[in-house]
């Protein structure tokens, strides 16, 4: 059959992007020449730019050569050289493009398989032109879902109507560009880094109800995070003498995470713990404190981190004393900066007390936290929310958050940071999109560090490629997924983390979106950092694939990575989270939590929802995070991280 051929669309390429959906670039793959020809003509009639090939291998090659070459892929299910589902997965994983499946077979189970593999639509042959006229929506949805997943969820959690607050948050969080034809990854990048005014544009889009893609999964993910966070909080409390997570006690998720936090070592699971095995013990935490500040500084000097930390502090407000530390811890752990954590904890404590006075804020933070957890990009949104809610923390925003979203995220952590470490200001919060996760969990110093890491990662204009790289590796994705901030997809990733191998499976099941999310979060990460992180992650991911034990190594690496760059923070957080199970409890706790987690993960069904449930053991309503979460979510997040 003919090789890939391309026909120019009706609209000149130059103006293509401006007239989206006109000129949308579609790659059509089908071994049936008749169908392919008809499809091609139909797509041309819709004024799309069409490229066709009858071999999946060629399609992949084209996609890999240049990720930005296409906006959408339409693929047949039954192809001789490669299974359509496999292609679907690969495209989703590597390029995070929306993929539409085509088939003669309309059996429910086949359709279901397509959807679970990540197809954003499933069309039956013969394809009608009416159906094709709407496929551009998938491109938009994907962009928004990855970017706004956090936002949307965030908003939902915050119960914020598309009002000023939301807009504000969006502005910060999304900072996406209105260019719809841009790649989703780019959008994310912009999302993290764009200014509010740009974000405003997106705000409207975000408010579009059709945008969120996997709210349920995401919420489950968030739940899990909060559960973990709360566990961590409790651990921290135990360690630090405070009882920050008592609030979270109510959080059912804790139960689920008991395995994680069964021991002090486990506590390392807490935001810190996840990332830092050494942090397992509270004592370590103490020592970590000192370095934490340093690490924060090293984060990349992005002030945003401080923001996030401050915000985190704010969040801590909701949590008793230690909470703050927990947040930081969570953050830190994710970053793998045990030291930071400790420091934060110490510092946090002090600040926290002051902050605690503003309990009202904490409530607000809780809400924000919830929302944060709900969306991968929560941190940013949280920042928004927090900012909105936490009146007393104006400084949060002021931190030198480089990116809007960082502010969001920062809101949570920055609060912590600002109050604590002057250096923090240097810590780039930009990475916050990923940091957002941090915020969720625990902004404690660790968060700050993490935030820094993530914030840096979030730094505006992160090349989406970085993320993509991370995404390429499945494992990497999981590592990224570690970042709690990640959107629902991260859930999967998150779960995957725990299961190491299990994760791998999850990944398979996970839709491309999840990977996308990971990328998304990390998009903000500075490319340089990200690259390093990615490398780390990749390593990690690979590790995971191999075995859980490896994951511990990965976790360690992650942590190390975290220190190196903010961007790594996020992934580390994630991986740490999962890995921490292994790492944190070197041979001890890991056995406890990790195996359990892993077993949970592995044993659960392919659907990560199932995983979540098994892990979280909480069937709470996502939205209800707010109640006890506020802090809990945060901590759990932190714990996750």
């Amino acid at each position: 059959m003919r090789a890939a051929e391309e026909r120019k669309g009706v609209v000149p390429a130059a103006r293509r992007r401006d007239q989206f959906p006109v000129g949308m670039r579609v790659l059509a793959v089908d071994d049936d020449p008749v169908c392919l020809k008809v499809l091609e003509t139909l797509l041309l009639r819709c004024q799309y730019h069409v490229t066709t090939t009858n071999q999946a291998a060629i399609a992949l090659k084209m996609l890999r050569e240049n990720r930005d070459m296409f906006d959408l892929v339409i693929s047949d299910v039954h192809m001789p050289d490669m299974d359509g589902f496999k292609l679907l997965e690969l495209v989703g994983l590597e390029m995070d493009l929306p993929v539409i499946m085509l088939s003669v077979n309309g059996e429910t189970k086949t359709v279901l398989k397509g959807i679970t593999h990540g197809a954003c639509d499933y069309l039956l042959k013969p394809v009608r032109i009416e159906e094709l006229r709407n496929i551009w929506q998938h491109v938009i949805r994907r962009k928004f879902s990855t970017r706004d997943r956090a936002n949307l969820d965030f908003y939902e959690e915050c119960n914020k109507p598309p009002n000023a607050d939301s807009d504000h948050v969006h502005g910060h969080v999304t900072c996406g560009s209105p260019d719809q034809s841009g790649r989703p990854s780019k959008k994310r990048k912009e999302y993290c880094s764009e200014e509010e005014d740009e974000g405003e544009v997106n705000t409207q889009d975000i408010d579009d109800p059709s945008a969120p893609k996997k709210p349920r999964k995401y919420r489950l993910y968030l739940k899990r995070l909060s559960a973990v966070a709360s566990q961590q909080v409790s651990i921290v409390a135990a360690l630090g003498g405070r009882d920050p997570f008592l609030h979270m006690g109510g959080f059912e998720g804790l139960q689920g995470y008991q395995a994680f936090t069964s021991s002090a070592a486990l506590s390392s699971f807490t935001p810190h713990g996840l990332l830092n095995s050494p942090r397992n013990n509270p004592a370590a935490l103490g020592t970590q404190g000192v370095p934490a500040s340093k690490s924060i500084q090293t984060m990349s000097g992005s002030h945003t981190l401080s923001h996030s930390i401050n915000d985190a502090n704010k969040y801590h407000l909701s949590l008793p004393g230690n909470q703050k530390g927990n947040l930081g811890q969570g953050l830190a752990t994710s970053l793998g900066q045990t030291q930071m954590q400790q420091k934060w904890i110490h510092e946090e404590t002090d600040d926290l007390s002051t902050i605690l006075s503003g309990n009202g804020l904490s409530n607000g933070m809780s809400g924000t936290l919830q929302s944060v957890t709900s969306s991968p990009l929560l941190p940013q949104e949280l920042a928004e929310c927090t900012q909105a809610k936490i009146v007393s923390q104006p400084s949060i925003r002021t931190s030198s958050v480089s990116s809007e979203h960082i502010e969001g995220a920062v809101g949570v952590s920055s609060g912590l940071l600002e109050s604590r470490v002057s250096q923090q200001s240097t810590i780039p919060l930009s990475g916050f999109s990923a940091n957002g996760l941090l915020i969720h969990g625990s902004f404690n110093n660790t968060c700050a560090n993490k935030l820094g890491g993530t914030s840096s990662s979030c730094a505006p204009a992160r090349s989406s490629n970085d993320l993509m790289v991370a995404r390429d590796t499945k494992g990497g994705a999981s590592s990224f997924g570690g970042a709690m901030l990640l959107p629902p997809d991260t859930e999967q990733k998150y779960l995957n983390f725990g299961g190491g191998n299990g994760l791998k499976q999850k990944f398979d099941d996970r839709t491309a979106d999840s990977l996308f999310d990971l990328k998304f979060v990390w998009s903000s990460v500075p490319s340089s950092q990200l690259a390093s992180n990615i490398g780390a992650h990749h390593a990690m991911s690979q590790r995971w694939n191999n075995s859980s034990s490896n994951s511990s190594n990965i976790g360690a690496r992650m942590i190390g990575q975290a220190t190196s760059s903010g961007s790594t923070v996020i992934p580390q957080m994630k991986t740490d989270f999962l890995v921490s199970g292994d790492m944190a409890m070197p041979k001890n706790a890991s056995d406890l939590s990790i195996p359990k987690l892993q077993s949970e993960l592995s044993s659960s069904s392919c659907s990560f929802d199932g995983l979540l449930n098994s892990i979280v053991k909480v069937e709470k309503d996502d939205v209800t995070f707010s109640d006890d979460l506020g802090c809990g979510d945060f901590y759990s997040l932190g714990a996750c991280i």
Binding site: D32, V34, T41, H78, K125
Partner: protein, 186 residues
């Protein structure tokens, strides 16, 4: 000059259309520009298609395929149909071989037939598609005899369709090139 006609889409100017299902009405041609022979051919080709569609050989999908023909791709329908017969011939010989070489290998048979069914549905060959479906049903039931019978029907429908479409295109060619039809000027 006065012309009898009515407004119609630009895209269908050159294509004879039959009032079949959703197919648009055949535009009247400017008699001064068309010879009687062409007019008759056009009507006949329309009738031919009408019959084909009316009898179920072709369905709405075929009309949609025809709709895709325009100035940019003036021979689109014929190209697709030619492609169809070429590819379906290949697929059918695959099936035939499989029926002999892999007895009772219903999965394999089904896979091949699924491909053929896809092609049929893309072009609108509804009767042939139905026979393909019954073949797949027989495969699902593990009914070798049923498969063999269905396959024979598929082959028959394939031959009939080829014949009808060939004559249809012949009439189309006789009806004249696209330029023969003009937009009515009121």
């Amino acid at each position: 000059m006065p012309t009898i006609g009515f407004a119609f889409e630009e895209s269908i100017v050159s294509t004879p259309r039959l009032p079949i299902g959703r197919c648009t009405l055949l535009p009247l041609l400017d008699p001064s520009r068309m010879s009687l022979e062409r007019i008759v051919s056009r009507v006949t080709s329309n009738q031919s298609r009408k019959l084909a569609v009316g009898k179920g050989y072709l369905d709405e999908q075929f009309c949609q395929v025809e709709d895709l023909q325009d100035e940019a791709s003036p021979n689109f329908v014929e190209e697709v149909v030619t492609l169809f017969f070429k590819d379906s011939g290949r697929l059918m010989s695959n099936i035939e071989q499989a029926l002999e070489k892999y007895p009772r290998d219903f999965n394999r048979w089904d896979t091949y037939m699924q491909q053929l069914k896809g092609s049929c549905s893309s072009i609108g060959a509804s009767r042939m598609k139905n026979e393909c479906m019954s073949f797949r049903d027989s495969c699902g039931q593990g009914n070798v005899e049923g498969c063999m019978r269905s396959f024979q029907k598929v082959k028959r429908e394939h031959a009939v369709l080829r014949q009808k479409l060939e004559s249809y295109f012949q009439l189309l060619r006789q009806a004249g090139p696209a330029g023969a039809a003009t937009r009515p000027v009121m």
